[in-house]
């Protein structure tokens, strides 16, 4: 099973990786810290599952050493590209936020889930709310992964 973790925060990436490793046997895990890196990897077309953060930087770093601006709905854009390319890769959103606003569009996590369900099925498979100081998110993620892997 080939899984890509799209996450720019090191700590969260490691925690998600640990959950994947403990849940899925015979798994090949890759990581992408930005929208660009994620898209570049996904479009190669051989991934089974993408664990996707919703808010990600477009690039890893700007050339002047500053961090690339965060794209609040970058994860949704990745999903849109997957759907546009008519790929079958499954996607689970793993986000720390339960509220999103890019200045133009504000949505609660519940609203976002509804929108993702409506527009990105069957690629979109569910959302897990990550909390850094808690393990509460691990089981739901694990369950989703198990279900997905079975269906592959």
């Amino acid at each position: 099973v080939r899984i890509l973790i799209v996450e720019d925060q090191l700590k969260k990436r490691e925690q998600v990786r640990a959950v994947v490793e403990s849940t899925v046997n015979d798994v090949s895990i890759e990581e992408a810290p930005s929208y660009y890196a994620a898209l570049d990897r996904i479009l190669k077309g051989d991934l089974d599952v993408v664990l996707l953060d919703m808010t990600i930087p477009i690039y890893e770093d700007q050339h002047d050493g500053h961090k690339s601006p965060m794209w609040i709905y970058g994860g949704e854009e990745v999903l849109r590209q997957i759907r546009r390319k008519q790929m079958q890769t499954k996607v689970i959103i793993v986000t720390a936020f339960d509220y999103f606003s890019d200045g133009k569009l504000s949505r609660s996590l519940d609203d976002l889930k509804i929108a993702l369900e409506a527009h990105f099925r069957p690629q979109y498979q569910g959302t897990v709310l990550y909390k850094s100081g808690s393990d509460s998110w691990k089981q739901p993620l694990s369950d989703l992964l198990v279900r997905l892997i079975k269906a592959l």
């Binding site: 929208y35 570049d40 690039y59 700007q62 050493g65 759907r83 008519q86 720390a96 609660s108 996590l109």
Partner: protein, 1118 residues
């Protein structure tokens, strides 16, 4: 408040468009009573005494007047009833009764243009020209040559003249206008007359100046003002501007108490509920129609045609100016009549539509068409004509719906006879050919071609005849035909039709091609494209693959975006990327010329589509740097290959390079902010040590390896003299080592402490570490901030229950304390100089150590010169500093980061705990985001903690330093939106490169001052620089500074005193990092830029703070 005052305030509120207040005043019984008690204001001037038009914009005026008229509904209803009676009498040829009605109007409502006009018309109808002459005399006698009477006389005379066509009428209007100008010397009358001519008798809307109308009608009768209002409302609705219809709906709702069929017709048009039954509304025109039919001038024609065609004839007559003395009522009656025919006599459908179309065109009321045709469609269950955009297309749609052969009986035997008929043959041909369509399609095409119908109608017919076959070739054939037309108007309209047909047929490639051509021809016509359908199809997954090889997909999406705004701009990026992929290239510049087909498309694609925001995030460009480099290459290609875009491309290239330069310079400045001016120090130290060092050197050499016994007086007599063994290094070298070290660290002009203070401790480290917190609203910008709460989130926190609120307030207090401690620890401890071993504070460990002295001593040789010693010391001190910096970086990167992360984690926990007390989702997101950004801010500070690289900046212009400083501060205060205006010196001289760093620091300090002290989210700064007689003057004006609550300062004296205090505050704080920074600016200018310096700070007024820096130019200018 007295009733009279209330009434005055009411109209004053209306004049200021403060309708909330106006309604509040109207709600007062005494005000209502006074207004209703007062006689009806016959002259509008009676209102304008209190109601002075502020900005006579059409929308404001409509709203304001609707408000006023709504308050006189009872009186207006009385007038309208009389008006109705008058017309009823006229239509029934009961002219004496009509005259009596007018007399009643005159008695009850005073002189009005409408009443006088009607009187004239009536007299004319009765051939009573003598009566009209008397009327004019009486008017002039009554009012002399006053403005309004002149208007009455002139207008009524013109309107009542027999056989005056529109053309003659307008000519006469201009003659009268000139005459009036001679009499009155002013423009109002002339404007009014022009307005009258235009609005009532001419289809030219563009020249209409509503302001002129309002101004010239200030003294008009309220009756006329109301009539103008209704007319303007009609025009306003006819404009078809988005938002007009809802506003008209609201105004009509405000005027619900006025029982005016004219208003009901408007309601009818915009599908608002109407109080009058529709049937009654429609039937009301019958009498008037009968009246028109009785006109002698129409009778000759009337005999020639059947009943329904007579209406068309009348419309034609109308268009040719034969029915000039009617006015808007006539027009509306015709429209309503046409509708009545549609509803009542379905077999006359085509004629009704034709008549309707004729009158709409006559009055340039195309904007009405969608409403009216929609109404017709709704009644007839016809096809949804709204799918057509042009009026003619809608007409066509309606006609197409008529499938009953019985309805075709009105078309003439041949098209030829139609073409020779008076009027517009195309419109009729449309109707008739359409009937031929089904049975005689080829014949119809031939006929249309033979007739060479020039207009859009012809195009439409041909197009639809072709398209009805549904074949690609036929649409293309029509496209070729339309493209060949030389008349731009017809060609563009035809292209719209071709594009829409292509869209309907799913020929998206062709549609895009036609749209591109249309854009090149005249982009005004793009509004007629079926965009919704096109975008839906273009972006569908089915169509996308077929379009991806064409640049037109991205181009058309961009055209739409630039004109109307796309909901999802990323689709342009998708189209761009797919286009490249389809041609297997990684850069737009590598696309072969044949991929575009047309060189103009390539130009547009490169200039407008291949922009940084489109290319950002696309494949093949893995970083923002790559995106910008690609854009630069593209601009260079545009500059070379497309002369028409050359200037714009050159500007963009310059802008990109400048921006890049700013960032590179900023990067240089950011990577290392620890600096000592060692060259200057060497010079200074040499003067001090040149005689002293040789003695020390010789002593050290002579005593190297020896222990010295130094005698001291014993502390007590018993002990006698005390012998202490020591190293000669300590005795001889330590004093000059200390001297050099102190200069290295503490020299006010060149030392490290000064630079660390100016570049980091003074506001910078705090600003950098708080920039993310500011961005996410977790702290305040201002120096006066309490530092306790999360200002942007107060509302959300307040919405929590009591327990949650208290809990959150405590959490933020803890968090702010933690962040403040971090800032304080860095600024007041880590970034301080540690010069004594027993001092605990200071991250720059530069205390004197025995091993350091030994190390230096070991390197001193007999031939070591003073210069070499100083150089040796510089290297030595820098190496110690480097060790400190490495340790400091570690402390900030690890310990401080850990503390900060803990503080954020704690806050996130606190926020999550509060979720039980209310919605904190957005706040939680802000805190988590701020944590991520804060980590980046810490990394920036870590980068500062490096030795600054020797400057090798090139010579620069002032604005380059300004832009760099601006960018630096913008990053530190991301939520502040500086509005910067600049006025560069005209001579545009260059500054020496060595001064770049210092100039940037000066300007950054000044801007930081504005950011911190303006208390504003949108500070406005103006900067100017001037070189004059060896003096460089930089003026930085904070144009919207807020002097603390000046309104509370009782007198001017207090204000002056407070301003002086604030000015002196700006000059305080010389030795701390908490002041204004002006002493540091002075230091930088005098020491680093080696210039004389004068600083002037003052409040020009309470909202404008000026900082003026003056320096000599000889050291800084090239």
């Amino acid at each position: 408040m007295s009733a009279a005052k209330g009434v005055r305030q009411l109209f004053a509120a209306v004049a200021q468009h403060d309708y909330e207040r106006a309604e509040a005043l109207w709600a007062r019984p005494e005000v209502r009573e006074r207004i209703s008690r007062k006689a009806f204001p016959q002259n509008y001037g009676q209102l304008t005494a209190v109601y002075e038009t502020r900005q006579p914009e059409l929308v404001d005026e409509l709203v304001g007047q609707a408000f006023i008229f709504s308050k006189f509904s009872e009186k207006l209803n009385g007038l309208l009833r009389l008006k109705g009676r008058f017309y009823a009498c006229v239509f029934a040829s009961r002219f004496e009764d009509a005259r009596n009605v007018l007399a009643e109007v005159r008695k009850s409502y005073g002189w009005s243009l409408w009443q006088v006009e009607s009187q004239f018309a009536l007299n004319y109808e009765l051939d009573n020209h003598e009566e009209n002459r008397k009327l004019i005399e009486r008017l002039i006698e009554t009012s002399g040559k006053s403005r309004s009477i002149n208007l009455f006389a002139a207008t009524c005379f013109l309107r009542s003249g027999p056989g005056i066509t529109t053309h003659i009428y307008r000519q006469l209007c201009y003659v009268i206008e000139r005459e009036l100008r001679k009499v009155t010397g002013g423009g109002n009358d002339a404007e009014y007359l022009r307005y009258s001519a235009l609005v009532w008798n001419s289809p030219v809307l563009d020249a209409l100046s509503f302001r002129a109308v309002v101004v010239s009608e200030q003294d008009a009768a309220l009756v006329d003002r109301y009539r103008t209002f209704v007319l303007a409302l009609n025009r306003f609705l006819a404009d078809s501007v988005e938002g007009n219809t809802p506003l008209v709906g609201k105004l009509l709702s405000d005027l619900k108490d006025i029982e005016d069929p004219d208003l009901d017709k408007l309601r009818f048009v915009i599908n608002e509920p109407i109080s009058t039954p529709a049937s009654q509304l429609l039937a009301s025109a019958d009498e008037y129609l009968a009246y028109l039919r009785s006109e002698p001038r129409l009778q000759a024609h009337a005999e020639e045609v059947v009943d329904v065609d007579r209406l068309i004839l009348q419309a034609r007559a109308y268009a040719r100016g034969l029915l000039e003395h009617g006015e808007v009522t006539t027009l509306e009656s015709r429209i309503v009549k046409a509708l009545a025919q549609v509803f009542g006599r379905a077999t006359e459908f085509e004629s009704a539509v034709g008549a309707l179309d004729a009158v709409l065109r006559r009055y340039s009321m195309a904007g009405w068409a969608p409403h009216l045709f929609s109404a017709v469609t709704a009644e007839t269950n016809a096809v949804p004509v709204s799918i057509f955009h042009s009026r003619i297309a809608q007409l066509h749609g309606l006609t197409a719906a008529v499938t009953n052969p019985q309805k075709r009986r009105y078309f003439p035997a041949t098209i030829s006879s139609l073409s020779s008929a008076p009027g517009d043959p195309c419109e009729h041909a449309l109707l008739q050919i359409y009937d031929l369509w089904a049975a005689h399609r080829e014949q119809a095409i031939d006929q249309v071609r033979r007739l060479k119908l020039p207009g859009v109608t012809g195009a439409f017919i041909v197009l639809h005849l072709h398209a009805s076959g549904g074949a690609h070739e036929e649409v293309v054939g029509t496209y070729v035909l339309v493209s060949s037309w030389s008349e731009p108007y017809y060609r563009c309209r035809g292209l719209v039709l071709v594009a829409n047909s292509a869209i309907e047929l799913g020929e998206l490639g062709l549609a895009c091609k036609v749209i591109w051509e249309l854009w090149q021809d005249n982009n005004r016509y793009l509004g007629g494209i079926l965009w919704t359908r096109l975008l839906q199809d273009l972006l569908s997954l089915d169509q996308w693959p077929t379009m991806r090889r064409s640049p037109l997909l991205a181009v058309v999406l961009h055209l739409y975006e630039s004109k109307y705004g796309l909901e999802q701009r990323r689709v342009i990026s998708d189209a761009f990327q797919d286009f490249l992929e389809a041609h297997s290239v990684r850069s737009a510049l590598d696309l072969p010329a044949n991929a575009f087909g047309d060189v103009a498309i390539r130009g547009y694609f490169l200039e407008h589509v291949c922009t940084t925001d489109v290319m950002e995030g696309t494949r093949y460009l893995p970083s923002m740097r790559a995106v910008e480099a690609e854009r630069l290459r593209i601009c260079q290609a545009i500059e070379n290959q497309f002369p028409e875009f050359e200037a714009r491309a050159r500007n963009e290239i310059r802008s990109i390079l400048e921006h890049d330069l700013v960032r590179r310079r900023l990067k240089t400045l950011d990577e290392g902010r620890v600096y000592v001016d060692t060259d200057a120090l060497r010079e200074e130290l040499f003067a001090t040590l040149k005689e002293r060092f040789p003695n020390v050197r010789d002593y050290l050499i002579a005593n190297r390896g020896k222990q010295l016994a130094i005698e001291f007086d014993a502390l007590s007599r018993d002990q006698g003299r005390l012998m202490v063994e020591t190293n000669p290094t300590l005795v001889a070298l330590e004093p000059i080592y200390r001297l050099v070290r102190d200069a290295f660290v503490l020299s006010k002009r060149f030392g490290m402490n000064t630079y660390v203070s100016a570049e980091m401790r003074h506001g910078m480290v705090e600003a950098q570490l708080k920039s993310s917190l500011l961005k996410w609203g977790l702290v305040e910008t201002s120096v006066s901030a309490s530092g306790r709460g999360a200002p942007s989130w107060n509302a959300q926190i307040s919405s929590l229950d009591e327990q949650g609120r208290r809990s959150m307030e405590r959490a933020f207090e803890r968090f702010n304390m933690a962040i403040t401690k971090i800032v304080t620890d860095i600024r007041d401890d880590l970034l301080q100089m540690k010069l004594q071993p027993d001092v605990t504070k200071g991250g720059f460990a530069l205390e004197i150590r025995r091993e350091n002295l030994d190390q230096i001593a070991s390197h001193i040789q007999p031939q070591t010169s003073t210069e070499e010693f100083i150089q040796m010391m510089m290297i030595h001190l820098w190496s110690i500093t480097d060790v400190s910096l490495a340790r400091l970086r570690g402390v900030v990167d690890k310990s401080i980061r850990h503390v900060a992360t803990s503080a954020f984690d704690q806050l996130i926990d606190d926020v999550e705990t509060c979720a039980a007390h209310g919605d904190v989702g957005a706040l939680r997101t802000a805190v988590i985001s701020a944590r991520a950004d804060f980590e980046g801010d810490l990394s920036v500070v870590v980068k500062w903690l490096q030795r600054a690289q020797p400057d090798n900046f090139e010579d620069f212009r002032f604005m380059e330093a300004w832009d760099t400083a601006h960018e630096m501060i913008r990053r530190m205060f991301p939520n502040l939106r500086f509005a910067v205006t600049s006025q560069e010196a005209q001579d545009d001289r260059s500054f020496k490169g060595f001064g770049f760093r210092h100039m940037v620091r000066v300007l950054a300090l000044a801007l930081e001052n504005v950011a911190i002290r303006s208390n504003l989210a949108d500070p406005e700064v103006s900067v100017s620089v001037q070189v004059d007689e060896g003096k460089l003057t930089i003026r930085i004006v904070n144009t919207v500074a807020t002097l603390s609550e000046p309104q509370h300062l009782a007198a001017n004296a207090d204000l002056d005193r407070r301003m002086l205090e604030l000015q002196s505050e700006h000059l305080s704080g010389v030795d701390t990092e908490k002041g204004s920074g002006l002493p540091k600016i002075k230091k930088i200018i005098t020491s680093d830029l080696a210039s004389d310096c004068e600083i002037v700070v003052r409040y020009d007024n309470p909202s404008s703070f000026r900082l003026e820096l003056q320096m000599s130019t000889d050291q800084v200018l090239v």
